[in-house]
Structures are given as C-alpha cells and as structure tokens.
Amino acid sequence: MTALLEISGLDVYYGDFQALFGVELSVRRGQALALVGANGAGKTTLLRTVAGAIGPARGTVRYDGDDITATVPYRRIRRGIALVPEGRRLFPSLTVEENILVGAAAAASDAWPLDRIYQAFPLIARRRKHRGSQLSGGEQQAVAIARAMAAAPSLLLLDEISLGLAPVVVGELYQMLAALRESGATLVIVEQDLRRALAACDEVVCLLEGRVALTAPSSVDREDVIAAYFGNTRGDRA
C-alpha cells in the first residue's frame, strides 16, 4: 500500500536556526504514528511544515501521491490535512459552535457535519453556545480536535493534546481518537507521554535535535525509544 504522507530530505529553518535536518518520514493510510522527542527536537516544526504553516528550505512533502511542498494551508485542508495546534488555540471571541464552523470553512468533504461531530464529542455538545474561555482545559482540547475534524480530514495531525490535562481527561481524549481511527482517519500524534503514545499508535518516530533518531513499530522495547530520545545508544545509560 502506498504512503498517504511521504516526507523526504526536509530541512527547515527559523531564520539562521536550523530546526530540522534531512527528515524522512512515511505514513501509510489508516496508520497512527507517534512522534516523540525532547522539547525542541522539532516535533511541532515538523507538524507545522506538513500543515503548511512553515515552508521548508529543502526537501519535499508528498501527500496522496502529489507534491504539496509549496501548497498554501487552505488547499491542504481541502485535500484532507488538518492540524490540532499545540496549546489548542481556540478563537476566544467565538463560541464553541462557531469555532467548529470556522474549521469547516475549507472542509475536504461534508462527511463531518455538526450533528456527527456532537455525537462523536458528547463532551462539548451541551457547551456549544459557550465561549472557549468558559470551558475546562479538557473541553477546550476536545473543541480544538472537533474544529479539525470539521474539515473532514484524511490525515489528522495532533500536537501535544494531553499537555496540562488531568490523566482521566487525557484518557477520554484518546478514546475519541481511537473512535476516529476506526472511522478511517490517519493520525500523526505528537505526545510527551511515551507509554500513551506507544499504546495508541502502531509506529513510533523519535526526533533528536532535528533529526530522525529512531523509526520503529510501537511494539519496540521502550528502552530503545528512551535511548533514542536522549541520544544514547543502548547500554550507555547508567
């Protein structure tokens, strides 16, 4: 089966600072891929490059067989790539429902109308008239995911959705993701919690200082991932 997302030789800079070095990544249709790594390893940069927020200096991003390296964000969303940004980034002066409707502005299809979204996210259905600022952190994160789902994505990019949330809330969010996967979505999940990332995904990619340090199935020994995470070869650690 061909890859839905194929990244090769990706170099990304912020001014003079190089954030990604020759990153290679491939995501098959229907797969869930965990992207792990220390703070500053380049995980968010990689997701934002796929979403079109940052243009790479070198390398290509191919999606569904086409080169989309220079495609503007809204066209990527039309083709089915949606991002749940780090820190939720809800529009504070819009209600929950308006936030979701803005997410539907460039939807790839009408597969996710409002009523389906409220079915999939019962957590926020009764909060639809509230502003984002009146919601709990977990509810805000659910709205951010719902806003991305409203675009009916084939590829959903999730950046640190469990940051700052209670474990039980994170559990609920991951149950939603499992349901989304069953409906056929392909996921790339940036996650700090290694155990949760490995449990929710079937492949793991570890970034270290802007380079891919490890690509492995999620059945990999956790010690190997931790070694890649900190840049040690296995056995180095005291």
Binding site: P73, F91, V102, A105
Partner: protein, 296 residues
C-alpha cells in the same frame, strides 16, 4: 432648553463621527492596518458624489448607488495592490504607506479640484429641521446621518455575528495564524473588509460634505476625530465607537455653546483624559479581559 438642544445635537453629530470611525476600527481590528488615509478617502467620496450630482443635476443622495459600490471596489483594489504588500513587511509599513497615500490624495485633489471650499447639494432635506415642542430643533441632515450611522453599525454587527463571513473576520481578528491554519482564506476576507471600510468612509464623507464645507484638506481633521472616537470607545467595539463618537459630539457642541473657540480643544482634552484614565477605552472592558484570560 438651549442645553437640551445642544446635547441632542451633539449626540447626532456623534453619529457622523461613528460612521467615519467604524471603518477605521474594522480595518485596525481585523487587518492591523492603521489607515492614515481614511479621512482623505472619505473626502474623495464627497468629491466623487459632487462630480456626479452636479453632472446629473440631482441631489447628492441619488449618487449613493454609484459612489458606494465604487468606493467598495476601490477599497478592495487598495488592499490587494498596496496594503497587502505593506502588511508583508509589517504593521509599521502600513502606517507609512497610508501616510504617503494621504499626501498623494490631498495633492491630487488640490490639483484637480482646487483648494476652494465646496458644499454638496443636499436637496430639500438640507434645509429642513425637525421641531420638537417649541424650543428643540434638530436639523434633518444630522438626524439622517445619525440614523444612517445606527443602521450601518447594526448591519455590520449583524454581518459579524450571524454570517460565515463574520465568523471568519472574528477568527482572523482573534488569531490570524491559527485562522490560516484551520483553513480561512485571509486574502478575500481582507479585501472585503477594506472594501467596507472605504465604502463607509465615503458614505460619511458625503454627509460631512452635505452638512458643512469641505476641501482637499478636510480629511486630516476628519481622521483625527475618527481616531479619537475609536480610542474613546475602545478598539474593536462597534457600539463603543458610536458611544465614543457621541461623547465627542456632545463635548464639541456643549462647549461650543459656551465658547466656540474652545469646542475642538475640549474634544482633544476629553480624548487625552480618556487615554490617561482608561487607555483601553471606555467600553472595552469585558471582551479584552476574556481574551487575555484565554491567551495568557
């Protein structure tokens, strides 16, 4: 009774200030463009209306179906050709570009239409007044300007709160980067906002030109009043802008009743006072506090 009359006239006068200021407020709130040519664009509207109305020999109100769409299109073209490039460089660049535009417009108008004072042909409404009881007299022109301002602000408010376009505008005003990332096409929204800003400016310019004299430099003083209305009302709040305009109008007319020489000075002093005491504006409060809570 003189004072009641003065306060009422001041409130009506505030409607015109709000009408000129709402486009300024919208352009800044959504695009972060401080448009220093806004007043001059209003005056351009008045000149265009004058040319058409004297050419056809009709009162200036009949030119609105031509002037307003032309102003809307001009605003969009201005955005797509000039302001968009400036915005790529930064917010300060838009100040420089619109300052240059302001100077160009003023000089072109002087070149083409001389520096003479003009007044628009307002027709019968221009000299009619509404008499309430024996002593309160409200000129129809001011009343019409005030009602027009209320209608325009209500219409804008409805568009912003009820339509898909309005949702996108508010999303961009909240967080333009995230709006782009979730699929909002910023370009068309910016162009339409610029179109509305220039069209409302032209409408205000026509009222200004029908009520009093105007010349190629009228835009400068108009701009200052518009800025003060926006700041007093609180940035980004349309009804605040109307209230700000009314505060300016009442101050101007009431102080003018005491001593005409101090009317404009009093307006500027009110502006300074608000800046010193409540720099966020008199009517901003709640919204900004909530925004800060979410983003902070």
């Amino acid at each position: 009774m003189t004072w009641v009359n003065a306060v009422l006239q001041g409130l009506l006068q505030g409607g015109i200030y709000a009408l000129i200021a709402c486009g300024l407020s919208l352009a800044f709130g959504v695009m972060r463009v401080v448009n220093l040519a806004h007043g001059d664009l209003a005056v351009c509207g008045a000149y265009l209306a004058m040319v058409i109305s004297s050419g056809l020999g009709v009162p200036v109100w009949y030119t609105l179906p031509l002037v307003l769409p032309a102003a809307f299109v001009f605003g969009m073209v201005l955005q797509v050709t000039l302001l968009r490039r400036a915005l790529r460089t930064g917010e300060i660049a838009t100040v420089l570009v619109t300052f240059g535009l302001s100077i160009m417009i003023e000089n072109l108008l002087q070149e083409g239409a001389t520096a003479n004072d003009r007044v628009l042909n307002a027709g019968a409404i221009g000299v009619a007044a509404l008499h309430v009881g024996g002593q309160i007299t409200l000129p129809w022109l001011f009343t019409a300007a005030f009602l027009t301002a209320c209608a325009v602000l209500s219409g804008l408010q409805l568009l912003l709160s009820r339509t898909s376009w309005g949702r996108k505008v508010r999303a961009i005003a909240d967080d333009i980067d995230t709006a782009r990332l979730v699929g909002v096409r910023v370009g068309p929204v910016f162009a339409s906002v610029a179109g509305i800003a220039v069209a409302t400016a032209a409408l205000a310019g026509i009222f200004i030109g029908a009520i009093g004299n105007f010349n190629p430099l009228t835009g400068e003083s108009t701009l200052i009043f518009a800025f003060e209305a926006v700041v007093i009302g609180g940035l980004g709040s349309l009804w605040g802008t109307l209230a700000g305009g009314m505060a300016l109008g009442v101050t101007q007319v009431v102080v003018g009743e005491l001593n005409q020489a101090y009317a404009v000075l009093a307006v500027h002093l009110l502006f300074l006072l608000v800046l010193a005491v409540r720099p966020a504006g008199l009517f901003a409060g709640g919204q900004q506090a909530r925004t800060a809570q979410v983003t902070g």
